[in-house]
Symmetry: C2
Amino acid sequence: MSAKSPLAVPFPAMPAIAGVTPRIARAHYKEWDRCDLTFVELTEGTTVAGVTTRNVCCSTEVELCRENVKGGRARALVVNAGNSNAFTGFRGREAVDAITSQVAAHLGCPHSEVFVSSTGVIGVPLPKDKAQAGLHAVFNAEPCSWEDATNTIGTTDTFAKGAVASAMVDGKRVELVGIIKGSGMIAPDMATMLGYIFTDAAIEPAFLQQLLSEANRKTFNCITVDSDTSTSDTILAFATGKAENAPLHSFDDAGADAFAAALHDVCRQLAHLVVRDGEGAQKFIEIEVTGAVSDDSAHRIGLAIANSPLVKTAIAGEDANWGRVVMAVGKAGEPADRDKLAIRFADKWVAQAGLAADSYDEAPVAEHLKGQEIRIGVDIGLGSGTATIWTCDLTHGYISINADYRS
Amino acid sequence: MSAKSPLAVPFPAMPAIAGVTPRIARAHYKEWDRCDLTFVELTEGTTVAGVTTRNVCCSTEVELCRENVKGGRARALVVNAGNSNAFTGFRGREAVDAITSQVAAHLGCPHSEVFVSSTGVIGVPLPKDKAQAGLHAVFNAEPCSWEDATNTIGTTDTFAKGAVASAMVDGKRVELVGIIKGSGMIAPDMATMLGYIFTDAAIEPAFLQQLLSEANRKTFNCITVDSDTSTSDTILAFATGKAENAPLHSFDDAGADAFAAALHDVCRQLAHLVVRDGEGAQKFIEIEVTGAVSDDSAHRIGLAIANSPLVKTAIAGEDANWGRVVMAVGKAGEPADRDKLAIRFADKWVAQAGLAADSYDEAPVAEHLKGQEIRIGVDIGLGSGTATIWTCDLTHGYISINADYRS
């Protein structure tokens, strides 16, 4: 691991989830002294939902997840770290097929209930022999902690990222835990994220998918580190039903709202943690767009600001250069009227009605920019569309990490 | 000026253009020890064409250029350096009106024949008194060289950028010269570019506009440094007619093809020079996309690659990380088939048909990446659409320059 991000937060206390058993082992996918294979066994009857990258050059693993999610049932999750197996053609497919077969045989379950993810370098086929030996080891390993599992799915992550929530459903307390890896190649429509949420709630897969997709739209799809979108991004949610609530089918069921809120909360926490581990990040930036012609338009304007290298470097330099925010709004390709635009840092308006605010005092803004949590507000002045986007600054650390990763 | 870009090229020998008289002066727009006001007087009858930024938060100057270009005639160009006057509302408009009035009175020409550009920090109204005094000084200054004029329009540029071409039209040799400033906030649909082309050819403004727009599409719109698009970008072409050729009206006129080729050549040279002065640039990167479903699709794929921070940092690190190119193709949102994709560096194919090329030998690719001129080729394998995009790598220099520009 590189030096821990200055924005890191401690790994939370996370409960065991009934019906979920994580284990880790060393498959030696890379020359490193750490576990790199995670195997999570799921009790029979576990339901599953998922969202995946929109990158059209996605990996075999992603294609398999998309296909298997349709069946709605899961018995196992395998995560390989150190090799993404993306863009490896038939050799990559063979490796995934071998893993799936080995796990299905071990558990006596259908192939379609085995979910595989891989993360790391693109273009090198995952070595089948290492996967086979690693699985053999992991089947016989003791169950591990969530923190150990989280560290094992990580690659360039500088800290372990976990989230926890609970909800009362049908008189039962249900627990949700989430773990995630990812720090670079983060962009809307997923990221170099592999995230997994486990709950003991009983919930039908179609409804779980609905809730996950809605949460994803407002959380994982609202973060960006460098505008790049990985070929492997995957978020899966598994529900074991061991809490023995009456299974949730729709928002008409008692406790559905509470469960949805808890799932959204876990997704938001995980999404923010990824930004906090953005490669080279020194500052966490929240961008709130209001007054756009629609929520979608606000979203795109927010991303244009969040992805602007000039905005991100200005924040890195603690420079209240709101002109760069104006520029980013203007290049978004969305309806905007220069002379109605207003911009604030934290709660201080720096520009209004198309020019610097009369009341603008740089001192409190400069003070805000020295902090680690930066808030930028943009009011477009045209409608009622809103969006909130989260990103980090662009620093020398990003260059150092990415100019010398593979070699 | 910062340290000169390692990709800099010497300023070319550039001829005087009959009917064009550049002069420079100090308006003291910033606290600096250099000229920052350029005034170019154009002979009566000069025709003009222009292309400007698509940033919807554009400056008053850009709005004025767009309006004045419709008249097709120009008598003067004023360029202010150190203050872009963008996002300054009515105060900015007053400053431009004052400049226009002063120049029009001096030359006895219509306001609509005066073109003004400003470049520098956004959000601070151009000081009218400094502009007035600067213009008074420049009207009385001696004519200057093209290189002096080029240095005077520059801001963060590290070297003076000029281009020259000539063509035979109607039995007359016509000369074209171009000067340009710009190094950051460069993106398709213009850039933080202010570029001016002067020719002694006689050409009708509508045809000059047609030729400039076509050249722009294949040159300035094909470069990017950081994906950001300035609020002030402007390219203007002025034709004095002093070569006394029969005025060009269309491609049916003798010499029109030669003139169009010369204009395209000047635009291409200028566009490349801007990339060569990309902030922090250490390497010039040419991205050739073939086999896309259309030229427009190829253009968008090329830009997705050129704007990917992960691709740009890999090149900075001299790392043949073609997986990042795959990623960038996949995120472009354009038709692509992972299993038909082929990627090369220079002429060496590194990936074909969706996986690493059997013949791939990293040594010559690594050698190529050590150079200053990097060529990436991507064949999508779906159609006959092509595009060529030019960019530079993303280095610590970019961060250093942009994390501390305004303050």
